[in-house]
C-alpha cells in the first residue's frame, strides 16, 4: 500500500478494514500487508484519496 504524503492519519481506513490490519500512529500508517485480501475498502473510503495500491 502506498500512503500519500498528504495522509492526515485520521484512521477511517483502519475502522473499515475488515481484517483489522491497519495500525494508525500519530504520524504514520502501518499496513499488515501479509493478511491483506485486496478488498480496497480502505482506498475507497479515504476522505482525501491518500491511499494507492
Amino acid at each position: 500500500m502506498i500512503v500519500k504524503e498528504w495522509c492526515m492519519y485520521c484512521g477511517e481506513c483502519a475502522g473499515v478494514c475488515p481484517r483489522n490490519l491497519i495500525e494508525v500512529r500519530e504520524l504514520g500508517l502501518r499496513f499488515n500487508e501479509e493478511g491483506c485480501k485486496d478488498c480496497q475498502i480502505c482506498i475507497q473510503i479515504c476522505p482525501v484519496d491518500a491511499l494507492e495500491k
Binding site: 492526515m8 477511517e12 475502522g15 473499515v16 478494514c17 479515504c46 476522505p47 482525501v48
Partner: protein, 393 residues
C-alpha cells in the same frame, strides 16, 4: 511491566469519562493516548447538547464553550430553509459549540484529578490474555513495554482495533461509516449566526452538510458522506459545498479536519472477558446527527463504574460485567432507535422531495406545533413519512 487495575486506551471524552469514574470508584487506573496532545486534531463539528452535559454533571466552562446556540436552521437543496427555535423543539446536539481541543483536555484533567494516571504519545500495539489478566503491548518513543491489567476499556475511536483484538465485532462497515471533511473558517456570513445549520440532499450523499458557528465570524463548515453512494471523496464534496454556499463566499479556512464517524448504532456486543468498549469504538453515536460526545461519555461513565465494581468483586469475565451492556442499552442505545429510523427516512428523500417538504413548512408556526403535528404535516407532503416515522413520534 506496568500493573494496573484498569487500562483505558484512548483519551477522548469517552475514555476520560471512563477513567474518571473508574478512579472515583476506587480502581487504580492508567489511561494512554497515542497522540502527543489530547484533543488534537479535532475530528468533530463540536456541537453538544446542554442537557447531555448536565446529565453527566459537567459544569459548562467558558474556556471550552465557543458559542451558545438558540436554534437550528435546516436548508433544502434549492435553498429553502426551516428555522426551529431550540426552546420550542428539542433537538439533539444543539446547545453549545465546543472548542474540542480544550474540552478534551479538561475531561482528561478531570480523570487525572480523580486519581487516574495518564500517558501521552503512547500507542497500544496488541493485546493478549495471561491467566485472568490482559497484557497490552505499548510503545512510547523508543520504549516498548507491556501493561498488565484486569480490565481494558477500549476507547480507541472509529478505528476500534482494541475491541477486535479482544474478539468483539467493533469494526464498521462502509455503509455505516460517514466519511467526513470540515474546514474551520473565518469570514463566514451566516444568515442566522445563532443557529446551527444543516444542509440536506445531494450536497452530501448519505449524510448532510453543516455550518456550526463558533462565535464572531468563525464556523465549522463540513459534511459527511457515505462513500457507497458517491464517487467523490468527502473532501471534494466539501470544496463544492464551500464554493456554492452563500455563507462561505468570502470565507477562508484556518484548519482542515477529516475522519470517519460510525453511524450504524451501538454495536451488539460491548463486553468480552476483561474488556469493555466505549464511545465511537462502540458506535455510541447518534445515527441521525453523528454526534457522540455525551453518548460516548455516558457509556464511559457506565464502563468506569462497572469496571471499578468488577475490580472490587474480583470478577471481570464477560459474564461478570454483562451489566454494562444492559445499562448502555437503557441509557444510550434505546434513545438512538427513533434517530436511526429518521435517518433512514431522510436518506430516502430526493432533492425534489426535500424541497417540497421545506416549502410545506414555510408558514408553520413552530411556537404552537408539537412533534406529532410536525409528523402529520410531513405526511401530507411526503406520504412515506407515515410508514417510516408514524409510530415513532
Amino acid at each position: 511491566m506496568l500493573v494496573v487495575d484498569v487500562l483505558v486506551i484512548g483519551a477522548g471524552p469517552a475514555g476520560s469519562s471512563a477513567a474518571k469514574h473508574a478512579a472515583l470508584n476506587g480502581a487504580e487506573v492508567l489511561m494512554i493516548d497515542k497522540k502527543s496532545e489530547i484533543g488534537v486534531p479535532k475530528r468533530c463539528a463540536e456541537g453538544v447538547s446542554k442537557e447531555g452535559l448536565k446529565q453527566l454533571g459537567i459544569e459548562p466552562n467558558p474556556r471550552w464553550i465557543t458559542k451558545e446556540l438558540s436554534g437550528v436552521r435546516m436548508v433544502s437543496p434549492n435553498g429553502t430553509d426551516v428555522i426551529l427555535d431550540e426552546d420550542k423543539v428539542k433537538l439533539p446536539e444543539a446547545g453549545y459549540i465546543l472548542e474540542r481541543k480544550v474540552f478534551d483536555k479538561f475531561m482528561a484533567m478531570d480523570a487525572a484529578r480523580a486519581g487516574a494516571q495518564i500517558m501521552v504519545k503512547t500507542l497500544a500495539t496488541g493485546l493478549k490474555r495471561e491467566g485472568d489478566r490482559v497484557i497490552v503491548s505499548a510503545e512510547h518513543m523508543d520504549h516498548e513495554f507491556e501493561i498488565q491489567a484486569k480490565i481494558i476499556i477500549a476507547a480507541d475511536g472509529p478505528e476500534s482495533r482494541v475491541g477486535r483484538w479482544a474478539g468483539l465485532k467493533t469494526g464498521t462497515k462502509p455503509k455505516n461509516m460517514e466519511s467526513c471533511a470540515q474546514f474551520e473558517m473565518v469570514n463566514v456570513e451566516m444568515k442566522e449566526p445563532d443557529c446551527i445549520e444543516f444542509h440536506f440532499g445531494s450536497v452530501a450523499p448519505g449524510g448532510y452538510a453543516w455550518i456550526f458557528p463558533k462565535g464572531d465570524d468563525l464556523a465549522n463548515v463540513g459534511l459527511g458522506i457515505l462513500n457507497t453512494l458517491t464517487e467523490k471523496t468527502a473532501y471534494q464534496h466539501l470544496l463544492e459545498f464551500v464554493d456554492n454556499n452563500p455563507a462561505t463566499q468570502n470565507a477562508q479556512p484556518v484548519e482542515l479536519n477529516i475522519g470517519g464517524d460510525p453511524v450504524g448504532g451501538v454495536i451488539k456486543d460491548l463486553v468480552a472477558d476483561n474488556v469493555l468498549v466505549v464511545g465511537d469504538a462502540a458506535g455510541m453515536v447518534n445515527p441521525l446527527t453523528g454526534g457522540g460526545i455525551t453518548s460516548g461519555m455516558t457509556g464511559g461513565r457506565i464502563a468506569g463504574e462497572v469496571a471499578a465494581k468488577a475490580v472490587k468483586d474480583e470478577a471481570w469475565s464477560a459474564k461478570d460485567m454483562k451489566e454494562y451492556k444492559k445499562l448502555c442499552q437503557e441509557e444510550v442505545a434505546d434513545s438512538f432507535k427513533k434517530y436511526l429510523k429518521t435517518k433512514e427516512y431522510l436518506l430516502s428523500l430526493s432533492d425534489e422531495e426535500l424541497d417540497s417538504i421545506a416549502e410545506a413548512f414555510q408558514e408553520t408556526d413552530f411556537d404552537v406545533i408539537n412533534t406529532s403535528e410536525i409528523v402529520k404535516k410531513l405526511v401530507k407532503v411526503s406520504p412515506k413519512a407515515l410508514l417510516k416515522l408514524g409510530k415513532l413520534f
